[in-house]
Amino acid sequence: MSLTLYHRHVLEDYLAGFEAKANPNHLSVIRRPAIFSVLAHRGNEASVKQALNSIEGALLHDCAPGEWLVVSTASGAAVVENLLGEITGASAIDQSDGRVLLRISGPNVRKILAKCVAVDLHPDAFSIGASANMLCCHVAANLARTGAEAFEIIVPRSFAGSVFEEMMEMGREFALTAAFAEW
Protein backbone atom coordinates (compact mmCIF):
# COMPACT_ATOMS: atom_id res chain seq x y z
CA MET A 1 0.00 0.00 0.00
CA SER A 2 2.70 2.49 0.96
CA LEU A 3 4.73 1.41 -2.05
CA THR A 4 2.30 2.96 -4.54
CA LEU A 5 2.39 6.24 -2.59
CA TYR A 6 6.17 6.19 -2.47
CA HIS A 7 6.50 5.90 -6.22
CA ARG A 8 4.05 8.68 -6.93
CA HIS A 9 5.97 11.81 -7.89
CA VAL A 10 4.54 15.18 -6.85
CA LEU A 11 4.51 16.32 -10.50
CA GLU A 12 2.73 13.17 -11.75
CA ASP A 13 -0.54 15.00 -12.43
CA TYR A 14 1.18 17.98 -14.03
CA LEU A 15 3.01 15.82 -16.56
CA ALA A 16 0.03 13.70 -17.59
CA GLY A 17 -0.93 14.56 -21.17
CA PHE A 18 2.37 16.06 -22.31
CA GLU A 19 3.77 14.56 -25.49
CA ALA A 20 6.36 11.89 -24.93
CA LYS A 21 8.71 12.98 -27.71
CA ALA A 22 11.27 15.46 -26.45
CA ASN A 23 11.84 18.70 -28.36
CA PRO A 24 15.28 20.40 -28.44
CA ASN A 25 14.20 22.47 -25.44
CA HIS A 26 13.31 19.92 -22.84
CA LEU A 27 12.56 19.82 -19.13
CA SER A 28 13.29 16.53 -17.39
CA VAL A 29 11.82 15.75 -14.01
CA ILE A 30 14.08 13.27 -12.25
CA ARG A 31 11.95 10.62 -10.62
CA ARG A 32 13.97 9.56 -7.59
CA PRO A 33 17.14 11.56 -7.04
CA ALA A 34 19.11 11.37 -3.80
CA ILE A 35 19.37 14.92 -2.45
CA PHE A 36 21.20 15.63 0.79
CA SER A 37 21.72 18.91 2.55
CA VAL A 38 25.23 19.07 4.05
CA LEU A 39 26.45 21.63 6.55
CA ALA A 40 30.09 21.91 7.53
CA HIS A 41 30.89 22.52 11.17
CA ARG A 42 32.73 25.76 11.85
CA GLY A 43 36.33 25.60 10.69
CA ASN A 44 35.83 22.46 8.58
CA GLU A 45 34.45 24.12 5.45
CA ALA A 46 37.46 23.47 3.19
CA SER A 47 38.03 19.85 4.23
CA VAL A 48 34.33 18.98 3.94
CA LYS A 49 34.11 20.51 0.48
CA GLN A 50 37.13 18.49 -0.61
CA ALA A 51 35.59 15.30 0.75
CA LEU A 52 32.27 16.03 -0.95
CA ASN A 53 33.96 16.66 -4.29
CA SER A 54 35.57 13.24 -4.13
CA ILE A 55 32.21 11.42 -3.85
CA GLU A 56 31.77 9.57 -7.10
CA GLY A 57 28.66 10.20 -9.15
CA ALA A 58 27.42 12.99 -6.94
CA LEU A 59 27.04 16.61 -7.97
CA LEU A 60 27.72 19.37 -5.47
CA HIS A 61 25.46 22.43 -5.43
CA ASP A 62 26.62 25.49 -3.49
CA CYS A 63 23.97 27.01 -1.21
CA ALA A 64 25.86 29.24 1.20
CA PRO A 65 29.27 29.34 2.90
CA GLY A 66 29.68 25.87 4.41
CA GLU A 67 26.38 24.57 3.05
CA TRP A 68 25.80 22.36 0.02
CA LEU A 69 23.25 20.14 -1.64
CA VAL A 70 24.66 16.79 -2.73
CA VAL A 71 22.69 15.35 -5.64
CA SER A 72 23.09 11.85 -6.94
CA THR A 73 20.99 10.11 -9.55
CA ALA A 74 23.34 7.16 -9.89
CA SER A 75 23.27 5.96 -6.28
CA GLY A 76 20.32 5.56 -3.97
CA ALA A 77 19.79 7.68 -0.88
CA ALA A 78 21.05 4.95 1.47
CA VAL A 79 24.39 4.68 -0.37
CA VAL A 80 24.92 8.44 -0.36
CA GLU A 81 23.95 8.63 3.31
CA ASN A 82 26.65 6.11 4.21
CA LEU A 83 29.28 8.01 2.21
CA LEU A 84 28.32 11.31 3.81
CA GLY A 85 28.36 9.75 7.27
CA GLU A 86 32.06 9.01 6.86
CA ILE A 87 32.94 12.69 6.43
CA THR A 88 34.14 14.25 9.67
CA GLY A 89 33.09 17.75 10.63
CA ALA A 90 29.86 17.73 8.63
CA SER A 91 26.17 17.13 9.24
CA ALA A 92 24.02 15.72 6.46
CA ILE A 93 20.28 15.31 6.21
CA ASP A 94 18.24 13.49 3.58
CA GLN A 95 16.16 15.92 1.49
CA SER A 96 15.27 13.48 -1.30
CA ASP A 97 11.56 13.52 -0.47
CA GLY A 98 11.49 17.25 0.24
CA ARG A 99 13.04 18.54 -2.97
CA VAL A 100 12.28 18.12 -6.66
CA LEU A 101 15.08 17.99 -9.21
CA LEU A 102 14.41 19.51 -12.63
CA ARG A 103 16.80 19.50 -15.56
CA ILE A 104 16.28 21.98 -18.36
CA SER A 105 18.35 21.97 -21.51
CA GLY A 106 18.23 23.14 -25.09
CA PRO A 107 19.38 25.92 -27.41
CA ASN A 108 16.97 28.48 -25.90
CA VAL A 109 17.41 27.52 -22.27
CA ARG A 110 18.96 30.85 -21.30
CA LYS A 111 16.11 32.78 -22.92
CA ILE A 112 13.62 30.68 -20.95
CA LEU A 113 15.50 31.04 -17.68
CA ALA A 114 15.89 34.78 -18.22
CA LYS A 115 12.15 34.98 -17.55
CA CYS A 116 12.44 32.84 -14.40
CA VAL A 117 15.54 34.06 -12.55
CA ALA A 118 17.05 37.52 -12.05
CA VAL A 119 20.64 36.36 -12.26
CA ASP A 120 23.08 36.83 -15.15
CA LEU A 121 23.54 33.37 -16.68
CA HIS A 122 26.10 34.36 -19.31
CA PRO A 123 28.93 31.77 -19.32
CA ASP A 124 31.38 34.48 -18.19
CA ALA A 125 29.29 35.19 -15.09
CA PHE A 126 27.83 31.73 -14.40
CA SER A 127 30.19 29.10 -15.80
CA ILE A 128 29.70 25.34 -16.06
CA GLY A 129 29.76 23.90 -12.55
CA ALA A 130 28.56 27.13 -10.95
CA SER A 131 25.56 26.91 -8.66
CA ALA A 132 23.75 29.16 -6.22
CA ASN A 133 20.51 29.67 -4.39
CA MET A 134 18.24 32.18 -6.10
CA LEU A 135 14.63 33.07 -6.69
CA CYS A 136 13.27 31.00 -9.57
CA CYS A 137 9.67 31.80 -10.52
CA HIS A 138 9.30 33.54 -7.12
CA VAL A 139 10.44 30.42 -5.25
CA ALA A 140 13.74 30.11 -3.38
CA ALA A 141 15.47 27.46 -5.49
CA ASN A 142 18.96 26.22 -6.22
CA LEU A 143 20.19 26.57 -9.78
CA ALA A 144 23.31 24.90 -11.17
CA ARG A 145 24.87 24.96 -14.60
CA THR A 146 25.75 21.46 -15.75
CA GLY A 147 26.55 22.27 -19.37
CA ALA A 148 26.69 25.10 -21.89
CA GLU A 149 22.94 24.76 -22.42
CA ALA A 150 21.92 22.63 -19.46
CA PHE A 151 20.82 23.62 -15.97
CA GLU A 152 19.65 21.79 -12.88
CA ILE A 153 17.03 23.34 -10.63
CA ILE A 154 16.17 22.09 -7.15
CA VAL A 155 12.92 23.40 -5.69
CA PRO A 156 11.06 22.57 -2.50
CA ARG A 157 8.51 19.83 -3.13
CA SER A 158 5.42 21.84 -2.25
CA PHE A 159 6.41 24.61 -4.69
CA ALA A 160 7.36 22.25 -7.53
CA GLY A 161 3.94 22.41 -9.19
CA SER A 162 3.88 26.19 -9.35
CA VAL A 163 7.49 26.40 -10.58
CA PHE A 164 6.85 23.69 -13.17
CA GLU A 165 3.73 25.40 -14.53
CA GLU A 166 5.47 28.77 -14.74
CA MET A 167 8.52 27.30 -16.49
CA MET A 168 6.33 25.53 -19.05
CA GLU A 169 4.53 28.83 -19.64
CA MET A 170 7.82 30.65 -20.16
CA GLY A 171 9.06 27.89 -22.46
CA ARG A 172 5.92 27.72 -24.58
CA GLU A 173 7.28 30.06 -27.29
CA PHE A 174 10.31 27.75 -27.60
CA ALA A 175 8.17 24.57 -27.66
CA LEU A 176 9.49 23.37 -24.31
CA THR A 177 8.50 19.78 -23.59
CA ALA A 178 8.56 17.96 -20.26
CA ALA A 179 8.81 14.35 -19.20
CA PHE A 180 9.96 12.19 -16.34
CA ALA A 181 13.47 10.79 -16.46
CA GLU A 182 15.01 8.08 -14.31
CA TRP A 183 18.40 9.83 -14.14
Binding site: C63, E67, A118, M134
Partner: protein, 90 residues
Protein backbone atom coordinates in the same frame (compact mmCIF):
# COMPACT_ATOMS: atom_id res chain seq x y z
CA UNK B 1 15.45 51.71 -2.52
CA UNK B 2 18.61 50.16 -3.88
CA UNK B 3 17.39 47.48 -6.26
CA UNK B 4 20.59 45.49 -6.83
CA UNK B 5 22.59 44.22 -3.88
CA UNK B 6 25.92 42.45 -4.39
CA UNK B 7 25.90 39.66 -1.83
CA UNK B 8 29.46 38.67 -0.84
CA UNK B 9 28.47 34.99 -1.19
CA UNK B 10 25.99 34.91 -4.08
CA UNK B 11 26.85 37.87 -6.31
CA UNK B 12 24.57 40.62 -7.59
CA UNK B 13 20.93 39.97 -6.73
CA UNK B 14 17.63 41.85 -6.89
CA UNK B 15 16.23 43.28 -3.66
CA UNK B 16 13.26 40.88 -3.84
CA UNK B 17 15.55 38.13 -2.55
CA UNK B 18 16.20 40.01 0.70
CA UNK B 19 14.26 41.03 3.75
CA UNK B 20 15.36 44.06 5.72
CA UNK B 21 15.52 44.00 9.48
CA UNK B 22 16.58 47.59 10.13
CA UNK B 23 19.50 49.63 11.36
CA UNK B 24 22.65 47.69 12.25
CA UNK B 25 23.27 48.91 15.79
CA UNK B 26 25.96 47.77 18.19
CA UNK B 27 24.41 45.47 20.78
CA UNK B 28 24.81 46.80 24.35
CA UNK B 29 26.62 44.82 26.99
CA UNK B 30 24.28 42.38 28.81
CA UNK B 31 24.82 44.37 32.02
CA UNK B 32 24.15 47.72 30.34
CA UNK B 33 21.56 50.05 31.82
CA UNK B 34 17.86 49.78 31.06
CA UNK B 35 18.02 53.06 29.11
CA UNK B 36 20.70 51.63 26.82
CA UNK B 37 18.64 48.50 26.17
CA UNK B 38 15.46 50.50 25.61
CA UNK B 39 17.30 52.63 23.06
CA UNK B 40 18.74 49.54 21.37
CA UNK B 41 15.39 47.77 21.10
CA UNK B 42 12.98 50.65 20.39
CA UNK B 43 14.66 53.89 19.37
CA UNK B 44 15.78 54.49 15.79
CA UNK B 45 17.38 57.50 14.15
CA UNK B 46 15.63 57.20 10.75
CA UNK B 47 18.41 59.18 9.06
CA UNK B 48 18.32 60.70 5.59
CA UNK B 49 21.45 59.68 3.76
CA UNK B 50 24.02 57.01 4.37
CA UNK B 51 23.53 54.32 7.00
CA UNK B 52 24.00 50.63 7.74
CA UNK B 53 21.20 48.09 7.84
CA UNK B 54 20.83 44.38 8.48
CA UNK B 55 19.59 42.58 5.38
CA UNK B 56 18.74 38.90 5.35
CA UNK B 57 19.40 37.11 2.07
CA UNK B 58 16.27 35.02 2.48
CA UNK B 59 16.15 33.48 -1.00
CA UNK B 60 19.91 33.06 -1.39
CA UNK B 61 22.56 32.08 1.12
CA UNK B 62 20.24 32.88 4.08
CA UNK B 63 23.01 34.88 5.77
CA UNK B 64 22.63 38.16 7.61
CA UNK B 65 24.41 40.92 5.74
CA UNK B 66 25.23 44.49 6.65
CA UNK B 67 24.36 46.77 3.75
CA UNK B 68 25.95 50.22 3.82
CA UNK B 69 23.76 52.34 1.58
CA UNK B 70 22.47 55.83 0.97
CA UNK B 71 18.69 56.07 1.06
CA UNK B 72 18.66 59.31 -0.91
CA UNK B 73 20.93 58.48 -3.86
CA UNK B 74 20.38 54.69 -3.73
CA UNK B 75 24.15 54.11 -3.77
CA UNK B 76 25.33 50.91 -2.12
CA UNK B 77 28.80 51.41 -0.62
CA UNK B 78 29.50 47.97 0.80
CA UNK B 79 27.85 44.66 1.65
CA UNK B 80 29.49 42.46 4.27
CA UNK B 81 28.51 39.31 6.10
CA UNK B 82 27.34 40.26 9.58
CA UNK B 83 29.31 37.36 11.06
CA UNK B 84 32.58 38.81 9.74
CA UNK B 85 32.37 41.77 12.13
CA UNK B 86 31.15 39.75 15.10
CA UNK B 87 32.54 41.05 18.35
CA UNK B 88 35.22 38.80 19.86
CA UNK B 89 33.31 38.43 23.14
CA UNK B 90 30.33 36.73 21.43
Amino acid sequence: MASLITCPHCGTRPKEEFSIRGAALARPHPAASEEDWHAYVYLRENPKGRYQEYWHHAAGCRRWLIVDRDNVTHDVFSVTDAASIREPSE
